[in-house]
Each structure stands twice: as structure tokens, then as C-alpha cells.
Symmetry: C2
């Protein structure tokens, strides 16, 4: 690459802001490699009559999505996505997945082919009964290479510099991977680079479905043995899903932060678990429960469960993934929550 | 084997009594294969002036170690270990590991060579700077084949028929494994049989060391990302330990109940975790803390950490197992608890 690489962050939510803080530190640390100014695309909102971008650029704090945490001043908020990305050598995608297509559509004309992308979006893209990885979609939409980052990362803890790990998956670990490692690795945020960007993204999506199953177990007061069994079965189904429907998925990926570590964290504390626990004691639909508990935000685990189920139905393979299927049935067909475990008892 | 197999259980503590309940059900279920009477060796104690064996045989309850749970009447408590084992075709070892040698010494003369053993003892046997598996030790001491069972099994939950899983490791999965599966498998206690009895027993011992590390993280309020990272590193060191020092250890074993599932359970709720959390906020030695919190019972994780450390020192390999080494240093050298994570931050 040669010259200083310009980095742009596309997205500025809770995780986007936390990772902007890491990136802001690292570009200064590696000023030989990176341009010290990092643009961050912020979807413009008004906070007490002020633009969110102005607040970020003046107070160096995303008061809406990561309050109480200072970003370094070299993170520059920009409301126009094209201006935020124009001339960038590295694009960090960290936005809600429903905005990917539209955003890439806007970016297409300002992005060079030798730009590199990396997606921090957790989820898979289900379209026309197929599953696509967001790294592949971004790649196709923009005509650039795209890697992915995932791990056991609660955003606030990363922002508070509590120790954690993450995994980067890229086709080119020695070249692109080395650059991305410099962009994300810090003593408190430990990055490993692997080639299996596919398994990494599958873990990031399907762990949320397993967390719903864990939440159902908690709601039923099933105890530690059951919970551990369900999480383990979930891990096996995540791997089987990857190996069945995608090439290049490796068992080692599940030993990475993006695998077993992220699964453990998500099943312990995440909101998928919490909403599922509330859901089974209620007559309300999952949408209503989500509205009550999450201010109308959608739960990734439930929509993923629905989409995985549709995908498996068209392939006549629901029985091969009994945990994923049970989660779908409990949430969308109102099957008795006990069915989360029943298929295991033979 | 042909005739009905006689089963004896050597041990009757909390886990021994819970598994006796499972076995008592299964020998009746498979009466073609097993003799319906199961002898259980009980170390004799007086409870309110009565023999514990009499209480068990009259009330069908181990009031001391598994109170409130009924055993089936076909479980017969026997205070004489030779009488308990004589003529048995299957011996189930579920006793504190410090009693294995003495007990096998007594059993030697009453056991036939075609008897089969299975050990439920969690731990490794460290002798003369070497590590032995209890299955191998029992095999040698009695001149019989010996398998092993391990899993994410809190005894009380198994006794209450809450769903759980366990793994059996045996050199002969198709023959001995099939018989053991009939002896232990129920709809609420799901057994998988694998060949890697070595990896299975390593997991059962080393998970306790990892749980201490998780407890230290909790004591330091390190958050979910750190905890997940430490558990993941622990899992990797468990595997590396097995693959470095033993033959036949397979990665798949770590996906079994004896692997990742047991590790998750132990790091969530177990007493290793709890004692470690208390230890780092105290000036007392680990022995004093154990005495206070566990009525003087020894913690498996701490002694295992000590023995693993001695083993690694003689091989000059402490640096290759930084998590195991950090646990030893925190507990026995009073190193700052922060060193549980420090080696990870580079």
C-alpha cells in the first residue's frame, strides 16, 4: 500500500463508537501506516436541538450510543456517507445489516477497487432462500475485498478497556490480515487472524439463536447441566451448518474468540437470552416482548431463527438441526418451551 | 458376557449416590443384560447413632450425601468393600481419588480378570513427576480394562432428573461402550461414547484450574469479554496439555459434554470459581479459605494447579501454558491476581 492508509468507519452505534475509540488510538500508534484522521459516518440525529455529528466533533463523545466514553479527537464524525468514505483505503462496516445494501449503493461511485473492507456486522444475509455472508455481499456490491471481525465483545467493556479478544477472518491473512491487526489490536483488545472468514460470520449469526435456547432453559429453571448441554448442542449445530452449506469452514474457528468465547458470552448475559426467558412466561408475541424490553429494537436471534428455519425447510433439513428448529417452533409456532430439550431425550 | 452382569458401585458420596440412582433404574430397565441387584460400597459412618448403610438399605436414601432423594430399593449398601465387589462383572469407581490405591489393593483378590471397570473420578494422578490417568491406574492395579465417564454433571441435578449429558471414553466403544451406555443412559442423562478416554479425563481435571482463573476474573470484576477470553484460553491449554503429553487425544473430545460443556458449567457455578473469587480479596492462604468455605474439603482445582505446575517445571514448559502457570502463581506464590490476564495482553 505504501502511503498512509486512510480509514473510514461506516456506522456509529454502540459497537461502532467503541471500535472507533480503538481505531482512533491505533492509527496514532501506527502513524507510519495509517493517516491519523479517521472519518466516521454518523446517521444524523438531533440531540437537544444539536446535530449528533457536531456533539461528537466538539465533545468527542457519542452521547446517544456510547455515553460517558471519550473518543480520541482524531475521530471525525461526518453525516454524508459519501464524504465519509471518499478516498478511503480501508472501510470498516459496523452498521445495522438492513442498511448495508442502500449504503453500499451510495458508496459504489466513490470507492476505489484497491480499497479494503472489513465488516463487523453480526448476522447473515438471507435472500431468495439463500444465505450470503455480508463480507461477500460488500465485496460484490463495491468490487473490493472484504474481511470480517467478530468475537466475544460487549461494546461497553471494550470502550472501558477491559481485556477482551476478537478474531479477524480474511482470505489474505499475511497481507490484509497484518494491516487489519495493526488497526484493531491493542494490549486490551487481542486480535487473532484466521483465514476462515465464513465460519467466523456463521458463528456471529447463529450464536444468537443458541442464546435464545439458553434463555428458554433459564426461564424453565432447567439447571446448569441442561444449559451446558443445550449450548454444546448449539455449538455443534453452528459447526454443522457451516460445514454443510459453505466451503472452507474449519473446526479450529470454533475455538477462536468468534466461536466458543462469543457463544459463552452471548448465552450468559445478552439480550437474546433475556428476552427468551421473558417470552416463555408470557402470552404476548415475540414482537410485543421485544417492543417492551428493547424499545422496539429487533432481536437478532429471533429473526435469524426464522430465516434459518425457512432456509432449512426449502432444503428439507429441519430434522438435522433440531436445536435451531426447536427455537423457531417455540418462538414462532408457540410450541411448548420444553421442546428445546425434548428432542435431546431419546 | 452372556449371563446377567453384576454391577457394583465403589463409592457413595454425592455423585456416587446420584449415579447409583441412575444405575438402579437402568439395571431394571435392561434386566436381560444386568442383574437387578446393585451393590454399593459405603464407607461406614454413624448418623444419629445408626449405620449409614442401614439407613440407605431401610430408607433408600443417602441422608448424608444426597438427602431428600430416593434411591431404588435394588441399590444395596454394603460397608465391606470386598463383599461389595466380589463376583462383580462391572465396577463403577466413584470415590475420592486419594482412596483409589488402598481400595484397589483390597479389591485385587476378589476381582476376576474379565471384570470391567469404569471410573467417574475427576482428576489426574500425579506421581513421581508423572501424570497417570485413573483409568490406567485402576487397570494396572486390578488387571482389568477400565473406561471413564465425565460430563457437565452437577450431581443433584442428575438426581432430580433434570436433563443433562455425559461422555464415556473407552478403548472398546462397540463392545464395552455399548454395555456402559445401557448402564448409564436414560432419557434425562444422555450418554455419548467415544474412544478418547485420555482427553476425557484430562478435561475432567484441568477444567477446575480454568474455573479458578474464571473466579479470579469475577473477583476482579473484569467483565464478560475477559471471562470468555480466559475460559477460551483455558480450553486451548487443556487441549494442548493433552496433545503434548499424551497419545490419542482428539480435538473432537473437547466438543463433547466432558469438554466444553463441563468447562462452561464449572466456570459458571462451581466451588473452584467461588473460592478463587473469595481468595483474592483476602489475606488468608488458600487452605484457610477452603477450610472456611468448604468445611475443610480440598478444592480439586488448587491441588491440580499445583501438580500441573510441578509437572511443567520439571519439563521446563511453564511458559507454554501461561494460564495454568498464572493460576498456580496467584494461588501459591500470591502473585497479583491481575497476572491471570496480563500474559494475554501483548
Amino acid at each position: 500500500m505504501g502511503k498512509q492508509l486512510k480509514v473510514s468507519i461506516i456506522g456509529s452505534g454502540n459497537w461502532g463508537s467503541a471500535i472507533a475509540r480503538v481505531i482512533g488510538q491505533n492509527v496514532q500508534q501506527h502513524s507510519d501506516l495509517f493517516d491519523p484522521t479517521v472519518r466516521m459516518w454518523v446517521f444524523q440525529e438531533q440531540i437537544d436541538g444539536r446535530n449528533l455529528t457536531d456533539i461528537i466533533n466538539q465533545q468527542h463523545e457519542n452521547v446517544k450510543y456510547l455515553p460517558g466514553i471519550k473518543l480520541s479527537p482524531n475521530i471525525v464524525a461526518e453525516p454524508d456517507v459519501k464524504k465519509a468514505a471518499e478516498g478511503a483505503n480501508i472501510l470498516v462496516f459496523v452498521l445495522p445489516h438492513q442498511f448495508v445494501y442502500q449504503t453500499c449503493g451510495s458508496l459504489k461511485e466513490v470507492i476505489d477497487a484497491d480499497c479494503r473492507g472489513i465488516t463487523l456486522i453480526k448476522g447473515l444475509d438471507f435472500r431468495d432462500e439463500n444465505i450470503m455472508l455480508f463480507s461477500d455481499e460488500i465485496s460484490k456490491l463495491l468490487g473490493i475485498e472484504c474481511a470480517a471481525l467478530s468475537g466475544a465483545n460487549i461494546a461497553t467493556e471494550v470502550a472501558e478497556e477491559k481485556y477482551g479478544e476478537a478474531t479477524i477472518g480474511t482470505k489474505y491473512p499475511d497481507t490484509d490480515g497484518a494491516v487489519f491487526k495493526k488497526l484493531f489490536h491493542t494490549p486490551y483488545f487481542n486480535i487473532s487472524v484466521i483465514e476462515d472468514y465464513t465460519g467466523l460470520q456463521i458463528c456471529g449469526a447463529l450464536k444468537n439463536v443458541v442464546a435464545i435456547a439458553a434463555g428458554v432453559c433459564d426461564g424453565l429453571k432447567y439447571g446448569n447441566n441442561t444449559r451446558a448441554a443445550v449450548i454444546r448442542r448449539g455449538l455443534l449445530e453452528m459447526r454443522k451448518f457451516g460445514k454443510t452449506f459453505f466451503g472452507g469452514v474449519r473446526t479450529e474457528t470454533f475455538f477462536q474468540s468468534c466461536g466458543v468465547a462469543d457463544l459463552i458470552t452471548t448465552c450468559s448475559g445478552g439480550r437474546n437470552r433475556r428476552v427468551a426467558e421473558a417470552f416463555i412466561h408470557s402470552d404476548k408475541s415475540i414482537e410485543e416482548i421485544e417492543k417492551e424490553l428493547l424499545n422496539g429494537q429487533k432481536l437478532q436471534g429471533t429473526t435469524t431463527a426464522l430465516e434459518v428455519h425457512r432456509f432449512l425447510v426449502t432444503r428439507n433439513m429441519t430434522e438435522e438441526f433440531p436445536l435451531m428448529t426447536a427455537v423457531y417452533r417455540v418462538i414462532y409456532e408457540r410450541a411448548p418451551p420444553e421442546c428445546i430439550v425434548e428432542y435431546l431425550t431419546y
